[in-house]
Structures are given as C-alpha cells and as structure tokens.
Symmetry: D2
Subunit: 334 residues, 4 copies
C-alpha cells in the first residue's frame, strides 16, 4: 500500500501517522521528494482501513498495490476455474447456455419451455419462483410451488435448474436446486453471501446495477472466503443515463473479469437490454468476446408469440440464435 | 394507464391485445389518431404488468397515470407525517439532527461522543454496530457488543439511538433500538422491508446508490404496506461519474420527495461527500432547502482530531455547524 | 404528439391550453378518462416545444409518437445506406476497418503504420493532426503539418484518410481529407454540424460521452438536414460510474441504431476501453453483433512495442486481430 | 508525478522506461519495495503524457501529485478572485443574481422582464439569442435581432447582460455584451476557449453535462492560459440515471470548487432541475452553501403565468425568492 502525503503535512503530523501505522504492525518505508512524501506500507496491510487513511487531512491519496481480493484473484490461481453446475461444466473452455422463462407460471409452461430449450441446445433451465419486484403490489412469484414445478421440469428433461434465492429464510427449499442465483439487488447483501459461502451450492452471482467490477469481485470473495469455491459471475447490465435500453450491457466486463479472476463469466442479454430484438446480437457479441455462457429468457406464452417483441425470445427465435452462437464459438475456439 | 400502439399494429393484433386486457378486468377506451392509437385502461390496473405490456412488439409505450405508490403518496395524505423517533419528532416542521461515529469502537468513545453531540444540540445518537463492508477482510463492527455500548450511551445521555440492521436474523438484538436504519445496499432487500413492515419500529430508509427517487418511494411503500407507518427517508448521495466526492449528493431529492410524499426526508452529508471539509456547507444547504433533519458523523479519535480531515467532524466542528444550522432554520421557518 | 393532463387541471385551464395549441396550427383531439384527459395533437407538431409543454403545471406528461428525426430515420428509408468513404464503401453489408495511430507524429511513423495496417487488411488510415486535450499544456497535434504527412501516407499506400476537424476555421486544410471526424466533444457543436451539412464531405460522427442514442441521431439529422447525406455513426464508449475501463462501450448501441436509422454504425474499441488488452475481444464482439466497421488505434513506436500494453495495438497484434475479425464476419454474413 | 511499476516488470524494461523518461528531461527517483517499485518523477512533468505512461504494460498506475491546473489553482492564488461583470462584482463576498428569460422573444418581453427582475434585486439580465437545441427543427433563437433587443433592455434598465455565444464566427456581434456565456455543450470546445482566452471579455463557463469538476477547471485554465482572467464558473446539473429532474444538481461542486480554485462559482437551478417548483429551494441551498451567485430563469409569458409551472419563475415568484435569498445570505455572511 502506498500513501502519498501532502506537502502541507508537518514533520510532527507525519511522524504521528507513521507511529500509528507501525502500531498496526506494518512497516513504513519513507521516500521523500521535493513536492511530496511517499510512504510505502509493507506487511499485512489488508486490515488497514484505506478509506480512513485517505480521509486524513495530511494524506493526498492512498493506493493499494496488491488487490484486496485473494481467492478470486487470477494471480494466485492462473488457470480458469471450471464450475460444476448440476453436472454441466462452465468455464475453462466449457460454454453453457441457461434458458427459460422469467417467472415460473404453470406446469405446462415450464415443462414446455424446458423441452424446447433443451432441444435447441440449452444446458440448464432457468425460471423465477421468488421474484424481486420494485412494487409490493406486483406479482412476486409462485414461491415454493414454483420450485416444485421447476423440479418437475428438471425431472422431465434432465436439465439442471437455476433459480433466484431472495432471502436466506427460504434456503431449505432450495435443496434440490442446482444453481442458486444471487440477484443484482442482493450482490452486496453481505449476510447472505457469507451464509452461502458456508454451503456447497453452486452460486450464480449477478452484478449489481451500480456496482463496479471490483465490487463484484469482492462479493465473490465473500462467498469464496467462506469455503465455497463454486461461483459463476454474471454481467447483466449497469445503470447509466441511456434510457433506450433498460440497462447498459457492459460487455467489456467479460475480458476485464477474465484478466482479474479465474472464475467463469456469463452474460444475460435479456435483462441487460430489456428488448427481445436486441438479445440475439448481444448474445453473439458475448460469445465472440469470450464469455463462458449465456442466460437467456425464453417464453412460449401466446401473447408473446403473437407480438414477437417481449424481452423473452420465443422458442423458435432461441433455436435460431443457438445455431448462430455455435458457429461463433467454433471460430473463437479454433 | 395509457398504452400507445404503434401504427404498424394490425387490427387483428390490436383486438387480440384488447381481449387480453379485458380478460384481466380492465376496461379499454380506444382513441384512434391518424398516426397512432391510444388505449386508455380504466379499473384496477395495479396488477397489469407494465413492463410486459411495454415489451410487446405492437406497443409503442405505456404510461401509468396514477402513481404506483399509495400509502407514501402525498395525494392521499396531504399533511406532512410527523414521525416519532424514540420520543424525538421528525417531519412537519420538526427538524432533528442525528450525530455520532461511523462505528461504535469503545465505551469511552461512544459515551464521549454522545455527551458531546448532545451538548451541541443533536437529538439522536448514531453509531454502527453491524457494518456493511465491500471486503470480507475489513472490520465488520462489534455486533452485539456494539449495540450494548450504544444502549449504555443512550442511558448515559438520554439520546435515542439509530443504528443499522443488516440481516433480519439479528432483529431480536434491536429490541431497545429506537430507530432501525436500512442501509443503501438493503434498500431493495424486499424480504427485509416486508418483515420490518410488520413491526412497529421506526425505520430510517436510506436511498440506494443507484436507485431512483421513485424506487426509494416504492421501498417505503413495502414497509407501509405491511402496516408500519414510521418511515423516515434519507438521501445519502448517488453514484455518478464524478469521482472527486465519494458520491454525488442529490440535494434536489429533498423538494422532489416533499412534493411526492408526506414522509420526512433527511440528508446525510457525511456519506454523500466523504470529506469532512464538505460536510458543513452541505448540511447548511440541506437545512436551507427544507430537509427535515441531518445525519452527521462525529468522531473524537485522536488520529482524526490531529488530522482534521476525516469524513467525520470533530465535536468542535460539529458544535460550530449546529449554531449555523439553527440560524438557517430560523430564516427558513419564519 | 400526446399530452396527458393532470386530473387537477380545471376546465378553464384546459380550454386555454387547447386554444393556445390550436393557435399554433395543430388540431387537438380530446379523450377524457375518469382520472385523466389525453390530448392528441395532430398536424405539424414538429414546431411545438415539447419541453415547454411538459413544464406546464396542468400537464402530466408529453409524448412524441412520431420520432423527431426524419432524414436519418429508417422508417422513411428502410434500406441501409451505403456510404462512400474515399472510394471505400461502409454499410449495407460493406464492413470496413479504419486503423492508425492516435496522433500523427513523424513521416516515418505514419507511413510505416499505413503500410502495415494496409497489409493486414485495413481499408482506411486514421491519424490525429488536431488533438482535443483536456489540458492546454498537453500536446495538441501537428496541425497542418500533420495533415500533410497524412496525405503523404495516403499517396504512398492508396488508403483514404480519416482525421478529426476540431474547428471550422481549419476546414480549408481538410480539402483532400476523405472522411472528416467530428469528435465526441463536438457532437453537439451545432454550428459545426450545420456547416458540415452544407458540404459534401463524408462525416464520421462520434457519440458524445454523455449523449443518448437519440441525441446522436439528432446530431446526424443536423448534418443531413443541410443536404449532406454522407454520415457514419461511431460508438466510442460512454461515461459511467465504472472506472476500470476509460469509458463503458455501449455495444447495444449497434442493434439499437440499426433499428432506428439506415446509417452505418462503427465501433471504436480503443477509446471505449483505453486498454490494448481489451481491444481485440471488443472488436470481435462488434463484428459479431452487426457493426459496419471498426476504428482501431495501431502504433509502432518502440516504447509501445517494448511494453506491449498501450491503448494502441502493435501492427502484429492488429494483424492477428484482422484474421479473427474476418472469420467472425464470415459467420455473421452467411 | 509518481509511477508505480508492476512486480512483473523486468529490470531491463524498467531501465528502458527510465532512460525514456530521463530523455524527456525529468529526474527519476527509484524506491523499491518487495511487491512494487515506485518511480518519483521530478522536474517539469507537465509535458509527460500521463495516459501514455499509464497504458504501458509494466506500469500499474500513475499519479500526478501536483495538479495539472495552474492559473485557476487556489494554491497559487489563495485569495478569492473578484470578477467584474459589466460593473457588477462577483466572488470574494460579492453575491450576484443573474435573471431573465430562457430566450429573447420580443422587445416587450425582454424589457418587461428586465424591469421586473431589476426591481426584485437581480444584478444582471440574461436572455438567449443563440439557442443550442438538440433538434435542427426547434427554434434556434433570434440571433442578431435578439442581441439588439437585449442591448435595448440593458439601456432601459442599466442591467449588464449575459448571453450565450455558440460559435466564434458570431463573436463580433457580442461587442457590447457584458458577460459571454460558454454553454455546457461547448465546455470542451477547446478552439473557442483558446480564442476567448485572447479577449478581455468576462466569461461565464458552464460545466458540461458529463464533465468532472477537474475537467471544468482545465477548461477554465484554457481561457486563463490565454491571458483572460475574467472567468466565472457555473454548475448547472450533471447527467445521471435519475430522470425525475432534468439533470442532477451537483451542489457539492460549490465547496469543492472553492477549495480548488479562486474563481467564483454560481449555480443555475433552473437548468439543473427543469421544474420551476424546485428552483426556489435549490437557490436557497446554493446561497446557504457559499455559492457566489445564481442564474435563474424568469418569464412573464401568459401561458406560463396561467399554468404556474414552467422551468421559469414568474416575476412574482422570483421576487419572493429574492427576499429569502437575502435573508439566507445575511446568516451566511455574519
């Protein structure tokens, strides 16, 4: 950790700060320039509160040289992690597509979609049973009944299932769920992350709407620090000033995350854009830039089929897209 | 609710959509123009999924005419709500200052700060016992011991206390806490909001870093829909491209919220700016524009006192600020 | 144009507004609901000031049904425009790569890079002679001398050239330039856009850092309204809260723009990300999602070559990337 | 300037970089740690391209210790600058209110508003003759005729005038204008800034929608570097994800700018919020937090007066606000 002191700092203030730092068991190397003094902190600086240090009046700036994340860090784990998601591998050259409806609605719906997406090449089935909704008056999902229907669809098709856990009180219901999704709004629900870190469930961690790439990695670190190394990261759009799309897909997060971490990274173009017409091209972009998988909404409801324009693809649209994705992957991998 | 259809919609598609809407028990008034058709939906439209409708290919746009929030809405409750916070009133002309350290550290610290801020005119004491931290390796607060120390400080000074609840599993520990803070990261933890809505605790609801004013109101609606009407809103800075300040204080949220809701609105200039030197001017701005209170970090630690520049004010700085705030309030109220 | 009135509007206020609107030669269709009144405005509403209308106290909201852009609108020009850029075609299935250094530095440099990128398949040469710099003390480009060197490189290689015009006073120097770039900071320099609209130069219009997709289209409309239809749009990253990358590449702008306009859309992954290591994957993503071209920084300076990490690719990296881009294009086009 | 090298840098690469730096006439101090090497660059580092350095593969990060702005820097000019705006002083304890309509429309309008705002205590008159509009089809102002009317209003009332220059080609028309406004879209029109820097006109420089505080200061530096020291800064809202207000007023820019620069800072609450109902409270906030002035839209058009809700205040609303502002200023100054 490097701390740059302001030129206005007196010798006494500087010495007082150094004594305080040394009292926290870090060594301090002083390098004085004409305009500034640089303190190099050596030792276990992980417990030094960077924000506190930065807020001091005599401190110009503080910089961590070593990144604050360890378990997720590619430096200490150069090879890609390959995560087992209910028998399906993701990462390290294994590309997997998760598909299904936003919400589980009926047995007929979820089993119908499951068969369709499997036939097109999806490896996992998604479907929401617990739905985070901005309004308390909106449909909140079928809860336990939705999980039961998902498990039926799993049995009928053999597809492992991915579904969102919103509250740890419901955790026991998720025993047979293959991949637990932590939604964007819970990315910094640290209590939930710690508890999931003490399980052996595979976790799909979605990036928060306003969270930086480094914060996403620190949240993955919460899970891994507890001992659970089965983490898949998901970019699903960030909140910007642009209102034409629901969110702005930060596609560059794919190569950035691949540089910083060994964990697999998937893209959710459905939530990122909010428009079915934009999903296929964004899915192809994700495949081309090295993403390890996709999460795509597919729905067979007539109102959707009729209108051909929801955030969800129809099974036919999904099938066409899967053919294109496979051909992009052939290029990328060769 | 108003739905504008695209000119490309065929009569058949339009009729199919209208039948679907009528099947959900809303009446549809058709108004045809040369370039567009407007459907006016009348009846209980609260259960119509606006996002689904908007995503249909034949739909140009959808607009709710009546706002989706009810209990928090000033339309149905024109007078300001006055919230009781451990005996202190906030809102409707009652201005209250909450002050104290970011984290509870020691008995001496919290009781010392409590006496100091009370002497300067603070009405409530704040202090974190459970601390949300980006990194799992950072100090996470003293937890139960911190709450015990806070309660001692309450006993010593008579100041009601405000502290953050991060996880409902800890709720029982908060029995004697006067105001429970829901932090920015939990603003859309809907499970927590619902549960707090079934208690009678006074809730301080902080706006999320990337949440709109309307989303803040919908989260307050979650609490009030459960029956708990004791909600105080807090603006504490939003995330923007500007990096000089930790966040960007959205001061206009004060008059906007006062237009939309009857609930009191307070400002946290410490977290909004991240620099003690900016806190006093932002506190005065908040008082001048009609905020119902302030939440300010005050700390008496020597490293802070020495350096005079942390996010926290020293007790002396806080005392000076309180004098200025009182004089601004005299002007605003007269 | 649709105007929704608030339920609080009195009949007198409503009638006054309608008379005012009719005085501006639009017909007003009234549709009254129980909670709201909708005014449908028919006729030439382009001159109605939407913002003024929206700001009126009795108006809830205003919505343009017909988009405010005409010449750039795909509705009135369903086929892709194919733009001639110094003999190279862009758009409508013609994919072109523009490559070269950020700044023109020396004859040797620009001619060397030009030969290299041509050999790898670039169709146009870029290089800055006038450089917009945040600081007045930073290198501002070689100006006229830079243009002279660019033209020498054009002569030596046959590659048409693309370079930025920062100020219309320099326009005469650009006589032999094939494509004039309007930089992100000038996207809403309306005087410049109008003047370029009266020329027959091909214009590469870059999206501003904080400009919406619709604002980009309106700026293109300024150029086309003047009679110049040779416009290429360029997405080069927008400003968000994420600081790991220089900007955030809004890759979804490609399919969105293709829906809204017939003009070609290219991607500049170098400025969007600011890191050479991220450029290849973003270029492949752009090719996969349907972009009509790329603009990529390539540099052969030893300090870059040594360090292998500037925003610019080395000629060798660029050559490898071009091979991958071609193979992605084969998939996309088949 | 401090440059942190990555631990992966070889000795050879490091030496090559140091030789390159020394070749540019800066001295390099090496400070080696176990995990990193810090290079301290001493001398005239202003011409070192920080972005180039940062982009090198062996470089972890680069930090300027001395700020890149000089003439605007409070460090080198500790006292507040007091700017003469047509005889009215702004800054250093002198608070001035600029008021008037968004656009100059008619003689009657501008002279009527001028008399009204003068009576209420405004010190300068504003009014747009050249209007930047997103659409080429929107009203673009009365141009020369508008300037003539403004000058008539100046003659009639004695109020100095403030109006926007959009294009240097119109500069000669601005001879009798007291304060030239550089609009948000031109904040980084570096050619215009340089030319205005060679005049002796007082410049009101508005912050761009997506420009950081430091970029605003660098743009002021462009003007001052040319020799023109008469610069007033104006915060008028930045672009964020929040859509309820037109922009988000960054009120903390006032104390931040006062720390960094000696130039006066004024606030434009009308453009920042876009709603007349929010203007008074934001104006009071600005006065309370130390702004040196305000710029407020006032209009007397019947459609506004009728509806009482445009972005512009009516003369009566403005008059009431001015009384409150004066009382806040009494508190702030005492």
């Amino acid at each position: 950790m490097i701390t740059v002191l302001k030129s206005s700092a007196t010798a006494e203030q500087r010495d007082q700060l150094i004594r305080w730092l040394e009292g926290q068991n870090v060594q301090v190397h002083i390098s004085e320039g004409s305009e500034y003094t640089v303190l190099g902190l050596v030792g276990d600086t992980a417990h030094i509160d960077m924000e506190l240090l930065e807020s001091l009046d005599i401190v110009d700036s503080v910089k961590r040289v070593s990144e604050p994340f360890k378990k997720v860090n590619r430096k200490f784990h150069p090879d890609d992690s390959v995560i087992d998601a209910g028998g399906v591998l993701i990462g390290g050259g294994h590309f997997a597509v998760i598909a299904g409806p936003c919400s589980v609605e009926t047995r007929e719906q979820i089993i119908g979609v499951a068969h369709a997406v499997k036939a097109s090449g999806a490896a996992l089935l998604r479907g929401g049973a617990f739905k985070p909704r901005t309004s308390p008056y909106d449909f909140q999902g079928l809860h336990g009944e939705g999980l039961t229907l998902l498990l039926e669809a799993k049995k009928a098709t053999g597809l492992p299932i991915v579904t969102e856990l919103m509250d740890m009180q419901d955790f026991d219901l998720f025993e047979d769920v293959d991949v637990i999704q932590v939604g964007a709004r819970n990315m910094q629900n640290f209590g939930m992350l710690k508890k999931l870190g003490r399980t052996d469930k595979t976790i799909l961690l979605k990036r928060g709407l306003a969270n930086s790439i480094k914060e996403l990695l620190m949240s993955a670190e919460y899970i891994m620090a507890g001992g659970n190394e089965n983490v898949i990261l998901c970019e699903r759009g960030i909140r910007t000033f642009e209102t034409y799309t629901r969110n702005t897909l930060d596609i560059s997060a794919v190569p950035v995350l691949h540089e910083l971490t060994h964990l697999p990274v998937i893209i959710d173009p459905s939530h990122a854009t909010g428009h079915a017409s934009l999903v296929p091209s964004m899915a192809l972009a994700a495949a081309a830039c090295g993403a390890d998988g996709l999460m795509i909404e597919v729905h067979n409801d007539p109102i959707h089929a009729l209108c051909d324009g929801a955030q969800s693809l129809t099974p036919a649209q999904f099938d066409e897209l899967m053919g294109q994705v496979r051909r992009i992957l052939e290029v990328v991998r060769s």
